[in-house]
């Protein structure tokens, strides 16, 4: 298991209590999981992705990551419509273990972009992991 000092964080991203990250690119947001999350889960063997066009409320489950250890639900950090899913993960779920920040999971059009402000900065996410 990685020590806090070994974990990767990416500046400019927002983080959730559920160890997901959100990046802003114009009118849409990309969502993935943090390095801490992939390290805790271990090898990811399957990614269950939502349909493009589906809409979810904030906090609603949109998919699952299956690791050798368990099935982990993925929750919407902000409500919105799925505009794209990372198809590469269907054939190579291990990409998330390799680099969980480059390999995003879904892209959404948020219902309310202002909700982004409610999420953690790198500093406050790091504090959350310190416990």
């Amino acid at each position: 298991m990685k020590e806090l000092s070994e974990l990767n964080f990416r500046e400019g991203l927002r983080y959730t209590d559920d160890h997901e990250w959100v990046s802003e690119s114009g009118a849409t947001l990309k969502i993935g999981v943090s390095d801490y999350a992939q390290d805790q889960m271990g090898d990811i063997v399957y990614v269950e992705l939502p349909e493009v066009g589906a809409t979810f409320e904030k906090g609603e489950e949109f998919g699952t990551l299956e690791s050798v250890k368990a099935v982990s639900e993925l929750y919407m950090p902000i409500g919105g419509e799925i505009v794209a899913v990372n198809e590469d993960l269907a054939d190579a779920p291990e990409l998330i273990n390799e680099d969980s920040y480059t390999h995003w999971i879904i892209e959404i059009k948020p219902a309310d972009m202002d909700e982004l402000e409610d999420l953690h900065s790198v500093a406050s996410y790091r504090d959350l992991l310190k416990g």
């Binding site: 090898d43 699952t64 050798v68 250890k69 368990a70 099935v71 291990e94």
Partner: protein, 420 residues
């Protein structure tokens, strides 16, 4: 609450980046930095090593040792070896279970006959005291000494097709050691756990070498003096470096054993009758399967049991799994409740080609994505090929009831094929 325990390799695990978790009250590695998938595949294609010193050894010695074990163990040790069912002899071991008088399982075990009046019983983590107590309680008038060796015996496993080639580099006289070391046999020993032969590593460490394991693959379990375990572990790693040997955690151990249709005690077998499961070979059925060839604790309960549930292996169609928690259940394809999930994990070395399960062991080019597999406990008998649904209330996964799961396993391969 009891505080958790550590094996002597604990600091090695932590220093090597293991993701640790409690198992049987021991803080054990789930996987190391390479990840559970690489560890699982190493055991199929090369070799992996496991810290198994959380398991417990019990020595049973004296004139009455054999008859006491015969009374307590489900296996008939006077009628167990080979096609001809000859008696257990020095240097051989058998798998069986210890039952309560009601036919439910206390624990499973491998029983080693070291010498005529000296046996070693290897049981699961934390069970040494209970099994030793059970043996003492049933000792009666017999002349027998039972000693719980929990935390006093160092144990590690090396599993995978390269195991003998790696061990051969650090054994004194490897050719002599490996000669006639058939599946479920052992040689060597130390202290009170001594067979008639001796086996030593090149540095003089004495060990009891057993051709057994818990992965379904070719390999060995090494029992060594507890104060030698760390050095033996690092010697084996060093000897296996060029073969790419990996230290493996409990996650790979679990997925390997599930694919090999081996039960986890207290999960796949436990406080229910030891019947209608994939392990009837642990019971002393007579030739006609009409009864048992000996009496033992729990036998009468099993013979009179009206137990009508079935423990069945399954495999899925992709790596998805459903956790075996209290919220999960099994249904028919039409939604009828059938039972519960005992084990559900992903064997990462297998996949399906035109519906058939293929392993990377049998096809080096095969890119396995993994299949979920494990055991279900159902209210009705299902035959291999039937499909059922695993569910956690939200997600549903179709799986196939199987007679076997991972093909091309190597555990029983002839030693000569594994040394070349």
């Amino acid at each position: 609450m009891a505080t958790s325990k550590e094996t002597v390799l604990h600091s090695w695990h932590v220093a090597n980046g293991a993701n640790m978790a409690l198992f049987g009250n021991y803080d054990m590695p789930l996987w190391y930095k390479t990840g559970a998938k690489a560890e699982h595949l190493a055991v199929i294609q090369g070799a992996g090593i496991f810290d198994t010193s959380h398991m417990a050894a019990v020595s049973v010695q004296g004139k009455g040792a054999r008859t006491l074990l015969q009374r307590c163990l489900s296996k008939n040790i006077d009628c167990c070896l080979g096609q001809g069912k000859s008696p257990l002899v020095d240097g051989r071991c058998v798998y069986g279970v210890y039952l309560k008088t009601d036919g439910t399982v206390i624990d499973d075990a491998i029983v080693y006959q070291l010498q005529a009046e000296s046996f070693m019983v290897v049981v699961n983590a934390g069970m040494g005291g209970e099994i030793a107590g059970h043996l003492v309680e049933n000792g009666g008038e017999r002349t027998v000494t039972v000693v719980d060796l929990t935390d006093r015996v160092g144990k590690m496993d090396i599993q995978g097709p390269d195991s003998a080639r790696i061990l051969g580099k650090i054994l004194k006289n490897p050719a002599a050691v490996f000669e006639r070391l058939v599946y479920f046999s052992c040689k060597g020993g130390f202290a009170d756990l001594q067979t008639s032969a001796s086996v030593e590593l090149v540095d003089g460490t004495p060990l009891l070498l057993s051709r057994t394991g818990y992965t379904g693959e070719f390999g060995f379990e090494l029992f060594v003096p507890i104060d030698r375990l760390v050095s033996v572990w690092t010697m084996v790693l060093e000897a296996g470096r060029e073969k790419g040997v990996l230290a493996c955690g409990l996650a790979a151990r679990d997925s390997l054993r599930a694919g090999a249709v081996l039960p986890l005690s207290h999960q796949d077998i436990g406080p229910w009758p030891f019947l209608n499961n994939p392990w009837p070979f642990a019971l002393p059925f007579n030739d006609g399967h009409s009864g048992f060839s000996k009496d033992f604790i729990g036998a009468q309960a099993l013979l009179q049991s009206n137990w009508d549930k079935y423990t069945l292996p399954f495999a899925g169609f992709d790596p998805r799994k459903i956790g075996a928690g209290s919220d999960s259940f099994v249904t028919s394809e039409t939604g009828e409740r059938l039972g519960s999930i005992l084990t559900c994990t992903t064997d990462m070395a297998i996949g399906r080609v035109d519906g058939e399960i293929v392993s990377v062991a049998g096809n080096k080019q095969f890119q396995a994505k993994g299949l979920c597999c494990g055991f279900v406990l159902l209210d009705k008998q299902c035959v291999p090929g039937e499909t059922v649904i695993l569910s956690d209330g939200k997600r549903k996964i179709k799986v196939e009831i199987r007679a076997d799961v991972r093909p091309d396993r190597t555990a029983r391969k002839a030693m000569s094929l594994m040394l070349g």
